[in-house]
Subunit: 330 residues, 2 copies
């Protein structure tokens, strides 16, 4: 059941070479009669996952359920798939842990805040894509972040996700032992997103490192938490070191997102807007309207790339069809 | 503004000796004109926090927003404070990060899943209680967990919250340096909860150590995640070691809850029901109804203790009043 490197899989052999399966790496799944994706309120014996999700080519994840619903409405419009009467039902309506929406080839899923919360969701999402036999899936995290040396509203596409000591790694504890995982992301996809921003010309986008922390207050050197044992100078020194190491924004989910997507061969990108410049402050004092407009930027950027990729694959499909049709006559 | 040990505070001097303030430990808060509790959508300049929350004596927190709404409905009935027409509005309705409900002296707040998610909430909750000038606050985490060597449905009141190597500590990274914090909880409160369970006689409750992990699948030795590189025997050996060290259940928030409540002098307890015995399986195969009834047990236990504590303090108040009234005649 786990067609990773070194595994063979019957289904894989029937696929075109260009198709890339979503990998699980767990031999135990073979022996399971059913698989309950508990935090999605979905399961292999209760839902026809290939029928529900087999056509998914793009997954977009973000912390807030409201934002992920707003994304599905936005992308439906962009892809001309919207139905004025459509309600875009929450596929995970039976639970309040995560929210999930789908339109055509695009799935939108919320993940809450922090590494553990997104990790639970990704374990179940990767199994869902695997059970649904999805191929060639691209995944984006769209989020908010604190910026370093950037105008608020700037979008950062992550080059490398680094930890609080600026190293590109994720430490995970498995059976009490620390395992270190790579947090590499797809550089080609990051470049494509940067190009989309140039095409759009609506807002500034940069490629930079993203620091992923376990805490929003003390973990990000904020001075406005319930506890703070360091000075303003300590904070500034730390953020300066982060900037000098290449960090351009700070959030709380990118490292495990990068690590798990890499393990499962999902082409992945992290696209976060900066809501403030952390070297100038800690509190989010911009108006609700301004913050809301900033939060739409990662959606616009990712929406533009999805549209572009679908148009390209449609052209390729047309071209393939023409080649096939022309073949007998040449 | 931070009346911790070694600090003096004018407000404190006017309090009775028996009253205990909720502490922040952050000298920087003094210099802030406003404090925006961003993830609650509340703030000191936009809301009258003392008027809204000054009477809070009990805070109950849990992962799921639905469960925290259900708790406020339940406790309203228990304390005979329910209004059949009441809607119990979500105080944080302007955001979807957390949900918050209040009835009389009881506040109910959701915290999502995992240490980072509950830590953000607790930073803002502790500041909220501080700004509202609350005193003598007791806080409970009610949650779900995997059990070890216990019948599913057993409630575990946490003695010590331990990490994945069974040590009672929380490692936090602050300015890139690892800081170790104690995860001690109030033993008297744990004993009182155990006594409540005996009074009720409705379900089994034990006091035991709770292992707090960063991941639900690999971090808890599950065999059913998207990735698994260990055997069934490795899993059983690890869980046996956990059991032998005193661990009776596994969840994902107790360590930072214990550490932050200790730092802020909040009397705290963790009360989680076990949904399955992890030595017998990984998947949650019980019916929705059974799982739902299990999840009500921590609510019932904590609700019973809150009622008992309020009755005791009411008796003390009556007694005090009598003493005062009788004083001139003796």
């Amino acid at each position: 059941m786990a067609p990773g490197p070194g595994f063979s899989d019957e289904k894989n052999e029937t696929l075109c070479e260009s198709e890339s399966t979503v990998y699980v790496h767990n031999p135990h799944l073979d022996g399971m009669k059913d698989d309950i994706l508990y935090h999605f309120n979905l399961g292999t014996s209760t839902h026809n996952l290939p029928a529900m999700f087999g056509d998914v080519k793009f997954v977009c994840v973000g912390g807030s359920p409201w934002r992920m619903k707003s994304f599905i409405e936005y992308i439906a419009g962009e892809l001309s798939l919207e139905d004025p009467k459509a309600e875009y039902p929450n596929i995970c309506a039976g639970t309040d842990r995560y929210a999930m929406y789908k339109i055509g080839p695009v799935l939108s899923v919320s993940h809450g805040m922090g590494i553990p919360s997104i990790a639970i969701m990704l374990h179940e999402l990767i199994k869902l894509l695997y059970h649904a036999r999805c191929t060639d899936v691209t995944i984006f995290r769209i989020g908010t972040s604190g910026g370093l040396g950037l105008e608020p509203g700037t979008v950062v596409v992550t080059k490398q996700s680094v930890d609080a000591t600026f190293l590109p790694r994720l430490e995970q504890v498995i059976l009490g032992n620390t395992v270190v995982r790579s947090t590499d992301l797809d550089q080609g996809l990051a470049e494509e997103l940067l190009q989309c921003s140039k095409d759009l010309g609506q807002f500034e986008t940069v490629i930079g490192n993203t620091m992923c922390t376990m805490d929003f207050y003390e973990g990000q050197a904020r001075l406005d938490g319930a506890f703070c044992s360091y000075t303003e100078k300590d904070k500034q020194d730390y953020l300066t070191k982060a900037y000098e190491s290449g960090v351009r924004n700070i959030e709380m989910e990118s490292s495990v997102f990068a690590a798990m997507c890499k393990l499962s061969a999902l082409k992945a990108a992290v696209v976060c807007v900066t809501l403030l410049d952390r070297q100038k402050g800690d509190q989010l004092i911009s108006s609700h309207e301004v913050l809301h407009s900033y939060q739409q930027r990662p959606q616009i950027l990712v929406g533009h790339l999805i549209k572009k990729m679908l148009q390209t694959s449609a052209s390729v499909a047309v071209l393939d069809k023409k080649t096939v049709l022309q073949a007998p006559t040449t």
